[in-house]
């Protein structure tokens, strides 16, 4: 759904003063990059930010041993409790659905309905209130979408509870079934963070390249969200697709924190940047991102788009094998691909 923010951008496109071309200090305002898609975020239902792997409670388990309390946010270990399944059923994947049996009486897992007036993905609070005794509680984000605490100096030590993306290096995770029995462990690494594609507020940058063939989704993934075309979606038809590949630990942690039910597309908020005294060009810097964004389009689903199962016949674990996978250069395996098509005609 295109939002009022996109109308704001189009109005700016139509009314920016051409005379700025004659001002050396301001001519870069006329560069198209100030008006095109620049970021993607991922979101979910607001109550999901206090459930799933965000949970801190006396029933948590770390290192395969029952803990007596919150245990310093599970000793930094990323914990997944698969409330919906047990070993008897052979399930090893964190399975989410439109409603959660384990939370049904207390947890409304439906994301807010989309509105063209939205300026953030989830209108409700997205603060993980179960972390309210954290020493930097004021730093806990309420962005309307997943943040990227691994790059936040005040939150990086509890990324495993704030969510939704792991650090770039290999971080341990422990997986438990619904009887709190240890199932397996492993490591997760963020592809986005390893490639400097996401800032601390969860804004995934766009690949600066112009539109690419769909086959480039794998080879160009290290540049961020990619504009793609195909014979069925040519630019000449007025259509453009945005491709985002979730891979490695990013897909795993998002799934374990409650999945993805919103995807947001952003342009730069040029008016806000200029009023802050920031002149273009606005270079991308994941560690010190000065860009401000305006939400221009969203996709909202009732079900988690990272919903997955195990492929028991071949011994594939959905969580371990399918999600925690690199796409490779040929884009022949691994990593869910999100493809959003815009029809401008």
């Amino acid at each position: 759904m295109l939002l009022k923010g996109f109308g704001d951008i189009l109005t700016s496109v139509m009314t920016v003063n051409p005379a700025l071309a004659d001002l050396p200090t301001a001519s870069s305002i006329l560069d198209t990059s100030n008006y095109t898609f620049q970021a993607v975020t991922f979101g979910k239902d607001s109550q999901g930010f206090t459930n799933h792997s965000h949970v801190v409670s006396s029933t948590q388990y770390v290192d395969g041993v029952e803990a007596s309390g919150a245990s310093s946010y599970d000793s930094g270990i990323f914990t997944i409790i698969n409330y919906g399944s047990n070993l008897a059923n052979g399930a090893s994947s964190y399975v989410t659905s439109a409603y959660y049996l384990q939370f049904s009486s207390t947890y409304n897992s439906v994301p807010n309905d989309p509105s063209p007036l939205d300026d953030r993905l989830e209108r409700g609070s997205t603060i993980s209130t179960n972390l309210s005794n954290y020493q930097y509680t004021s730093a806990l984000p309420d962005l309307g979408h997943y943040s990227n605490p691994a790059l936040d100096s005040q939150l990086s030590s509890i990324w495993n509870k704030v969510g939704g993306f792991p650090p770039s290096d290999a971080s341990d995770y422990y997986f438990y079934d619904n009887t709190s029995s240890f199932t397996f462990s492993g490591q997760v690494s963020s592809y986005f963070n390893a490639n400097g594609l996401m800032d601390k507020n969860g804004y995934l940058t766009f690949n600066p390249k112009s539109i690419q063939p769909a086959t480039a989704r794998g080879t160009e993934a290290s540049g961020g969200a990619l504009l793609v075309s195909s014979t069925s979606v040519p630019v000449s038809s007025g259509r453009v697709s945005v491709s985002i590949v979730l891979q490695d630990g990013d897909a795993c942690t998002l799934a374990a924190f409650g999945g993805v039910k919103h995807v947001g597309i952003y342009c730069l908020d040029l008016a806000s940047l200029l009023s802050s005294g920031l002149l273009p060009p606005y270079d991308w810097d994941a560690l010190n991102n000065t860009r401000k964004y305006k939400l221009v389009a969203t996709v909202t689903t009732l079900d988690d788009i990272l919903f997955h199962r195990d492929f028991a016949a071949l011994g594939y674990s959905g969580f371990q094998t399918v999600l925690n996978q690199n796409v490779g250069t040929g884009f022949t395996y691994g990593g869910p691909n999100i493809n959003l098509t815009f029809d401008f005609k």
């Binding site: 496109v13 009314t15 630019v235 453009v240």
Partner: protein, 201 residues
């Protein structure tokens, strides 16, 4: 099914036409208009990063007037006026016209024309940001413009064009909005004002 831009965002256009006699305006036309597919075609080039890298090339900065419009042209697939004024003289005559008329090419169904066509420029001072999502284009055709057309033809169609979305060496524009209106036989006794408002949701 993917909804189109105009239906998703509710993009609407509205045109009023006024006769101006001795400084007094008389409303002679007041209707909604059609945003045509060329608008989205240009946006796809902007958002696909395959067109011009200068944002002003995506602005509506010119128009055409014509003499053989019809309601059947008020559809998304229209790429040009049916009977656009085809000479410089038709726009500016022999008097002291206020119009700045330029020659250029035009995109039609992803193919550029190769014969020069005439467009009248819309001064940027006549482009008004009415609110955060509304733009108004004011087109003034003075007493000395568009008079004595061949065969005593009457003006009855107008189109707004986006400047040059693919940054061609010869400016190649694309039709963004079209409107057919009731016949106006233009003379030097009066001027015309077209106020075209486009709302982006």
């Amino acid at each position: 099914m993917i909804k189109s831009l105009t239906s998703q965002l509710g993009i609407k256009g509205h045109l009023t036409v006024h006769k101006v006699v001795d400084g007094q305006e008389e409303l002679v036309y007041d209707e909604d208009n059609v945003i045509v597919s060329g608008f989205g075609w240009a946006l796809a080039h902007l958002y696909g990063k395959v067109g011009s890298e200068t944002i002003t090339d995506y602005q509506i900065d010119r128009f055409k007037l014509g003499v053989s419009g019809g309601s059947e042209l008020q559809v998304s697939s229209t790429t040009d006026l049916s009977g656009a004024l085809s000479s410089l003289a038709s726009y500016v005559g022999t008097g002291d016209s206020n119009l700045d008329v330029v020659s250029g090419y035009r995109w039609a169904n992803d193919v550029a024309t190769t014969t020069g066509e005439w467009f009248a420029k819309i001064p940027f001072s006549k482009v008004t940001k009415v609110d955060d999502r509304t733009v108004r284009y004011t087109i003034f055709v003075d007493e000395d413009s568009c008079n004595n057309l061949p065969n005593d033809a009457s003006l009855n169609e107008i189109g707004l064009f986006i400047k040059n979305p693919k940054a061609n060496a010869t400016e190649t524009s694309v039709l963004a909005a079209y409107r057919y209106f009731s016949n106006i036989r233009k003379t030097s006794d009066f001027a015309l004002v077209f106020r075209w408002t486009i709302s982006f949701g």
